[in-house]
């Protein structure tokens, strides 16, 4: 196959890859140089050693991580049953409804979404002050864990999560898998958990990546609603210390990267294990029965 590709293509590929490599690496390297080579001070690692003692850093980071994990969990919990139902039932109507529902958030830019959410949140003090609903409005805006951000983030992540799952489901014949599992006596939950989900590994992983990365870097909604997760904190910090904010930016990229790689590794080992597992699992079950 490879031999069919004309030989002339190769230098072209090298140029493209080289240019892309430069474009994507130079800002990272330059940012690193910027943080360690401070004018008037020479080489110093102060920007990095200061980070953990910086005011509010840990709080902001933990808040972002918490928001991210909650968002991933909620998004998957909501989307997976829906996407599976479409695939298993083959219902064209449900499919088109979900497609529209999961595409609409793409049509609304985060700034516009936050404008809408802000308006709704103002209903609390304006109209609902005397009703029990008011407590809910206050609770979702708790600065320690603003649930309203999770709601917004799930909405924003929905198109990406749904699409990854859809693509993953399209790649495997879920119907046959479930039919086979059910024929062999598996219950519905078991058929989903031990037959369908392992086949959706990559899709689930992609969906989680996208959602998590989205939340960790999210700035617009959080800033305009007045909360202070990671991205908002960096901007606040940049006012007093440019080097520090660049250093944290770099670290956040590295952190995201490490997180994604770690997740990949976890999923890989689980994949390898589950490739061997079914047999022993089955024998155990039969012995038990």
């Amino acid at each position: 196959m490879a031999r069919l590709i004309p030989a002339g293509v190769r230098p072209w590929r090298g140029v493209v890859l080289g240019a892309a490599g430069l474009y994507f690496l130079v800002p990272l390297i330059a940012a690193l140089v910027f943080t360690v080579d401070v004018p008037g001070q020479g080489f110093t690692l102060d920007s990095y050693t200061q980070i953990f003692s910086a005011d509010g850093f840990t709080t902001a980071l933990l808040l972002s991580l918490g928001l991210g994990l909650t968002t991933v969990a909620l998004a998957l919990l909501l989307t997976l049953p829906a996407a599976l139902a479409v695939r298993l039932s083959g219902s064209g109507r449900l499919r088109s409804v979900l497609e529209v529902v999961c595409t609409l958030p793409l049509v609304v830019p985060p700034v516009a979404l936050v404008a809408g959410i802000g308006t709704v949140l103002k209903w609390g003090p304006d109209h609902l002050a005397t009703t029990p609903l008011y407590e809910t409005f206050v609770a979702v805006q708790d600065p320690d864990f603003p649930v309203v951000l999770v709601l917004a983030y799930v909405v924003m992540a929905l198109p990406f999560v749904y699409r990854s799952l859809e693509a993953g489901l399209r790649a495997v014949d879920v119907r046959t898998l479930v039919e086979a599992a059910r024929d062999l006596g598996a219950s519905w939950p078991r058929a989903i958990v031990s037959v369908v989900l392992p086949n959706l590994r990559t899709a689930l992983l992609n969906a989680s990546f996208l959602a998590l990365a989205l939340v960790l870097g999210e700035f617009t909604v959080a800033q305009l609603l007045g909360f202070q997760p990671f991205a908002v904190w960096i901007v606040q910090a940049s006012g007093s210390n440019a080097q520090l904010s660049v250093a944290v930016s770099l670290l956040s990229l590295v952190l995201t990267w490490v997180l994604l790689l770690a997740l990949t590794a976890v999923f890989r080992t689980r994949a390898a294990r589950s490739a061997r597992a079914p047999r022993s699992d089955k024998t155990k079950k039969e012995a038990g029965a």
């Binding site: 800002p27 049953p81 409804v97 700034v111 809408g116 308006t119 059910r182 990229l253």
Partner: protein
């Protein structure tokens, strides 16, 4: 256990005739709409409610319905900002689509599996590396005191990061990877057999691309362009952290109006601007979705 007995007896007629599958309980899923209900309810609450509030506010002038806010949002500084955003989105999406396609093709056709995985993983990370950290990385590189600016004396040549082209260069950092992620599966979907068939029938590489490759890819490419346009149009964080308001953009205007930095009572104009943005984005989607469906037909 009891429930399984009930289900098997309720589908007993079917099961009885099928001797080889005595434990069959039928494949009928619990109502598909029921499974989708939580999602639909959630979207209605977390998305529908704000959307209604926004429409309502955008169309409310001094307590009664009217188009005053929308009219105001299309004039003066608001109009400049809207046009600025459209131009930035079109330019960055155009450049990003071409570069993304080239990069994806280079990666997809390479034999190194490691290179491919590395680029796709990196694209996944970088496509989401918009926002604040990106702005700061570029400020550190090409800003006023940036490493490249000071070492290469770029400012003497009239370079400024806090300009239209500075923003373009910065946006490409997440748009190109986004395009790579979008077109790589489509490029993978180009069956080698098609190419072999074309080449065996005496077509040149160019003819293969002209008559097979590009037509099959076109929906994906246009779809990708539109996706990039949408993301650049909606971007706020990078611009807010980097240029402040030196480049007129609609997202910056909305944020200003929302946070009350301008005249009091402009909140509804902000909502009207949001509505403008949604109309543009809706138009974009109206183009994107049919294209995506078309490309799915070929590449499924």
């Amino acid at each position: 256990m009891t429930s399984s007995l009930i289900t098997s007896s309720s589908s007993g007629a079917g099961a009885a005739t099928d001797v080889r599958r005595p434990r069959r309980r039928g494949l009928k899923a619990p109502g598909p709409w029921l499974a989708a209900l939580p999602l639909l309810a959630f979207v209605a609450l977390a998305f529908g409610l704000p959307a209604v509030a926004m429409f309502n506010g955008a169309l409310t002038v001094n307590g009664s319905y009217g188009l005053g806010n929308l009219d105001q949002s299309l004039h003066g500084a608001y109009r400049t900002a809207l046009l600025g955003s459209l131009k930035l989105a079109a330019v960055t999406a155009g450049i990003g689509s071409v570069l993304g396609l080239l990069l994806a093709q280079a990666v997809v056709t390479s034999r190194g599996r490691a290179l491919r995985e590395a680029v796709l993983t990196a694209s996944g990370v970088l496509a989401n590396f918009g926002g604040v950290p990106l702005a700061f990385a570029f400020v550190a590189t090409l800003g006023n005191a940036g490493v490249l600016t000071t070492r290469l004396g770029l400012d003497r040549h009239g370079w400024s990061l806090y300009s239209f082209w500075g923003l373009t260069l910065t946006y490409l950092y997440f748009l190109v990877p986004l395009m790579v992620l979008t077109v790589a599966p489509a490029l993978d979907g180009l069956r080698p057999q098609w190419r072999e068939a074309a080449l065996n029938s005496g077509a040149s590489a160019w003819q293969y691309w002209r008559h097979v490759g590009i037509p099959v890819l076109l929906p994906t490419l246009l779809g990708g362009f539109v996706l990039l346009f949408g993301s650049a149009f909606a971007a706020y964080a990078t611009a807010a952290a980097m240029v402040g308001s030196s480049v007129p953009l609609v997202t910056l205007q909305i944020a200003d109006a929302l946070s009350g930095n301008v005249l009091i009572g402009q909140e509804n104009v902000a909502l009207a601007l949001s509505l403008d943005m949604i109309l543009v984005a809706a138009l974009v989607m109206a183009v994107h979705l049919p294209l995506q469906r078309r490309s799915a037909r070929w590449l499924a």
